[in-house]
Symmetry: C2
Subunit: 251 residues, 2 copies
Amino acid sequence: MTTANVDTESALLSRQELRQRLQAVGDSRYHHRHPFHLRMHAGKLTRGQLQAWALNRYYYQSRIPIKDSLLLAKSEDPAFRRAWRKRILDHDGDKDGYGGVEKWIRLAEASGLNREQVIPCTGVLPGVRYAVDAYLALVRDSSLLVAVASSLTELFSRDLISLRMDQMRLHYPFLVPGLAYFEGRLTQAPEDADFAFDYVATHATTRKQQEQVIGALEAKCSILWAQLDAIDYAYVLPGNIPPGAFVPECA
Amino acid sequence: MTTANVDTESALLSRQELRQRLQAVGDSRYHHRHPFHLRMHAGKLTRGQLQAWALNRYYYQSRIPIKDSLLLAKSEDPAFRRAWRKRILDHDGDKDGYGGVEKWIRLAEASGLNREQVIPCTGVLPGVRYAVDAYLALVRDSSLLVAVASSLTELFSRDLISLRMDQMRLHYPFLVPGLAYFEGRLTQAPEDADFAFDYVATHATTRKQQEQVIGALEAKCSILWAQLDAIDYAYVLPGNIPPGAFVPECA
């Protein structure tokens, strides 16, 4: 083994190098590149396909505050918990009818679904459920460092959300009354990502831990990607909706 | 509520009625109906697609004895554990180079893969991994009754395996040297299924428990089905292999 190899495997990355490595993961693996999103942004999805996306992704949205509660439970530091607690507030709101989970229901309603079809999650694709549950298991069973790192997909979400809002206004104007969720995320996501990046950059104090951080981001990218795989498979091609899953009433 | 409704919800099913309900689940939800299997049995898969199937399903096969170990750990009854232990023996064998897991590797080799490509599971589709991990979580987090019931897909596997062996000999003769796994399962699966059905028929002593048994079989059918969804999506249509997953070298 040469000295160069040893360095590559053991030398601590600078804050900037770590940021670049994370960016490279996002560039190649974040779900902005997924065929279903490309089709969405090109205006090629039917209303029924948008309904299927909104209904399935509700399962993910509804699990975010549960994920953040699992993460809170891993920290022994009141200051960290105070800071992270914001995320639960963002999704659950201060009272009934507010917060990100409710806003996602409004998006689903704008697509033409009733909230009663959405909230029980009965029609969610098994593949989406397994991917989201894998996210909960990752956060529950990993170190706090890895759990925080798995949230770093938010480094890339602002650009995707901006593009999505523009394209939805253009191609699917019936969704406009449901865009409040994305409006909120435009400011929340970058704040959250900055906090999470600062946390991992500070607390990953060995190269091995830095590689764990990068691996956690890759794992999270796969979890987001696999949800769209399942939706794309079931709802874009005819005949692939699995037994028991949501069947759109409109085309 | 009428008396009839009360009966429907609370009356204990006879052994025969329970068997019929389970059969109905299998008829509608078992993966013998999945488009990927239909294509396989019609001789329409390429060698590369069969490789992708063998490599991905190896992750499932490799987790079966882990699942059975989790299940053993739930029982306090030496007689039950002695009976169920057979399954671990079937998959792990008595010594290196024997058992169902090894036989599955031989099937993958017959498809043209090296065992070094298969055993580390690095190229497995995330969607397959999440589905299989959901099976482990189901067994780990449920009652022994539900865990045993989730194995009842073996009630239906003999017919599927018989058909598969015939069609493989016909359409994919290069796989013939790898068919020992299925040969073994032709006798193992029905024995295992008989034991498991007898167990749930005896130990589900309320209608609620009987419905849990039926629900567990539905859940397991979804887990098998979702694995094929992921494989079908990634390897039958061009451009859908997710980042990091196995890419066949041949068509």
